[in-house]
Amino acid sequence: MTDPAAGPESGPPWMRSKIEIVCERAIVEEVVAWLRERGVRGHTIVPHVSGAGRQGRRGADDASRVFENALIIAIAPRAIARAVLAESVERLRDFTAIVYLSDVEVARPDHF
């Protein structure tokens, strides 16, 4: 198995990081734009997730949608993922959001 810390290219299957962000719908577009800026090349959005955290229950279908969450998934090189995680603390402070990373293996390293 390849060493997760070995960087972008170290033989198949390649290691990447999966960034997952659960956040309020209002800022999804901005979060995606921010990921792009940081060098993330793709993402997947699961719309309409509900949940609860420090800021109480969310997901009631209020008409304005301010209480709706979405889940953003992005596979990226480890360094980028770490930078995103570190920057998220400041960047998402005023918003309802959580961020976490995990390791994944991919087959096409050029893709991510």
Binding site: E24, I27, E30, A60
Partner: protein, 326 residues
């Protein structure tokens, strides 16, 4: 006075208001009753398009000479009203500036469903309003948002900066779905007039009350669930959500009379001024003033002011307009 009572009772006994009460009751007993999101959004789209088209058709029938002035006045009121609301919120309810600014923006803007419910109430009582009231409503959606943001900035709260964020915000404010549907429907109604309307009347006219019932059932659920989930609000904050509509209605009655609107028009304009946004403005505030507490502004506008207007405000404003014009 007995007029007012009978109007209030007639309002409370209409299927629309009873459906609203049923929804609220269901949420109160924690029923699992649930109108699917897609249905609720579809109903909202229908109501906005249909009310826009109706207004445009009425406008095409003539009588729109005074429309331009009325629309300008409506926009100006939406600009100005948040300042008054901000003052009340700061000095009586003692809210933080950012919360006060956000709440104020909601009360300067308008609620489409309140408008639609009032329209039907007035039409059923032989007090139809001018068609261009729809345009007045559309123009009142946005200015209050700008005032709210200016108030917050004055108090030292920077609104959102990133370019993507700002673009997103302004799109949300200027071309959000309800403005597109109201204004678009209005223009379509005005272009096709009565003959074109005849083709779609079974849908846009005849079904209006029935679909409004279904939508108000959902609004009852949503408003009561919001209220149940809400944090405890101070009495002064809650009082604001009743007092501000009354002040707004008074302003609307005065302005509407000065503009020479019909009795129905005066009542409907008072309702507009008394109503608070719970769709467009929350979405904009969440983007522009993230430090403001959404549970606060959504609860006040959706959980308190909206039910108050639907159940009591509308017949009250109508009775005042009738009295004023008598």
């Amino acid at each position: 006075m007995s007029d007012m009572l009978s109007l209030a009772l007639a309002n409370l006994a209409s299927p629309m208001v009873l459906c609203f009460a049923l929804g609220a009751l269901a949420a109160w007993v924690r029923s699992d009753l649930d109108i699917p999101d897609a249905i609720a959004k579809g109903l909202a789209i229908y109501l906005m398009l249909a009310i826009g088209v109706k207004g445009g058709v009425a406008m095409a029938e003539g009588g729109g000479a005074r429309a331009a002035v009325a629309i300008l006045v409506a926009g100006a009121l939406s600009f100005a009203m948040p300042v008054l609301a901000y003052g009340l919120l700061r000095f009586f309810a003692r809210l933080e500036p950012v919360d006060a600014a956000a709440v104020a923006a909601h009360f300067g803007s308008v609620s489409v469903v309140t408008f639609v419910t009032a329209s039907e109430f007035l039409a059923a009582r032989g007090l139809p309003a001018e068609g261009y009231l729809v345009a007045m409503m559309a123009v009142m959606e946005t200015p209050a948002i700008v005032t709210g943001l200016l108030l917050a900035r004055r108090a030292g709260y920077a609104t959102q900066r990133s370019r993507e964020g700002a673009r997103h915000l302004w799109r949300e404010v200027l071309v959000n779905g309800s403005i597109v549907l109201l204004v678009g429907g209005f223009v379509i109604g005005w272009m096709v007039g009565a003959p074109g309307y005849a083709k779609v009347k079974p849908f846009m006219g005849d079904l209006f009350n029935g679909l409004l019932c279904l939508f108000l059932l959902d609004m009852g659920l949503v408003a009561m669930r919001q209220l149940r989930a809400a944090p405890v609000l101070s009495p002064a904050t809650l009082a604001f959500a009743i007092v501000q509509p009354l002040i707004g209605a008074a302003i609307g009655l005065a302005a509407g009379s000065a503009l020479g609107l019909s009795t129905g028009g005066v009542a409907l304009f008072a309702t507009l001024c008394a109503s608070a946004s719970y769709i467009a403005v929350p979405a904009a505030m969440r983007l522009a003033l993230p430090k403001a507490n959404p549970a606060l502004y959504v609860t006040l506008s959706l959980g308190v002011t909206f039910p108050f207007n639907v159940a009591f405000g509308i017949p009250f404003y109508a009775a005042l307009a009738v009295a004023l014009r008598a």
